[in-house]
Amino acid sequence: MRHVRAGRRGGAVSSFIGVVGELLITAGVFLGLFVVWQLWWTDVQADRVHTQVLAELDWPQPPAATENAEDADDDGPAIAGEHRGEPPVMDEPADETVFAELYVPRWGADYVTPVAQGIDKARVLDRLGVGHYPGTAMPGDLGNFATAGHRTTYGSPYQQVAELREGDPLVFRTETTWYVYRKTTDEIVWPHQVEVISPVPGLMPGEPIPDLTDRLLTLTACHPMYSAAQRFIVYGELDYWAPVEEGTPIELIEAGVKVRGAGGQA
């Protein structure tokens, strides 16, 4: 009680303690706001940018199945054929160029994220979604198409990376071509283990690269969630490819995924 009364009288010590207390409360509010910003606002901002970036692509919509439907009202998407020959492969674009969309039915029918060139955190991963490791294969090519994405924050494109099961389709679309990969395995590695994105995963940097025979895919995301201690790695392999003008992969149609495109409703 005596202290309280001393404080009311404005003693130097108690007013000093009062200011320290207010500074500590301010620091606490500041840190709390930082958590709100990091865990919530970066997602809000990135989702907004992703939606805008995807809309700006203005890519043609895959054709509808009207010609082989009995009544003309049925205009569900046409089913794309499963091509297993040599796929078309685009050249590596300039940094920060959005060159593909990724659809993953396991992550929801409305899941779609842009895929951009580069893995710069501020310019690509925090803003544009999934990033493509420069120098690794492009979609469909022999070798390893290696990508990175946030598992938490900034749109969290790879949030559910650990929920993928063997055989789950991971469907990349460039302007003209579908590439349907399927998950093979996953593993947890340390951040320095760059061999996971080698043309043949496991090959150490500097080792001679053998003749490439497989068209592989690697996803890297942080692990555990809300930590950067390790990396969660998912491997996949190309199942088939298809021209967009032919239709939509059956995997997306069955999952109820609405493929966006120019003139179509997202």
Partner: protein, 54 residues
């Protein structure tokens, strides 16, 4: 500290409260737009790439 701020502000209580509310929102906005993006570079809780470290 905050008591002093309240006392040096002119005007009636409702005006002071409104002023402080606007000030607080402006500070939050500055944090969200500039301070936190800068700070997050030093809080690597969400790195997701594999990189060669010497």
């Amino acid at each position: 500290m905050y008591g002093g701020l309240w006392r040096i502000l002119p005007g009636p209580a409702w005006f002071r409260a409104l002023f402080l509310l606007v000030l607080a929102l402006a500070l939050v906005w500055v944090c969200f737009e500039w301070a936190f993006p800068w700070l997050s570079e030093y809080v690597p809780i969400n790195d997701n790439t594999v990189e060669a470290h010497p």
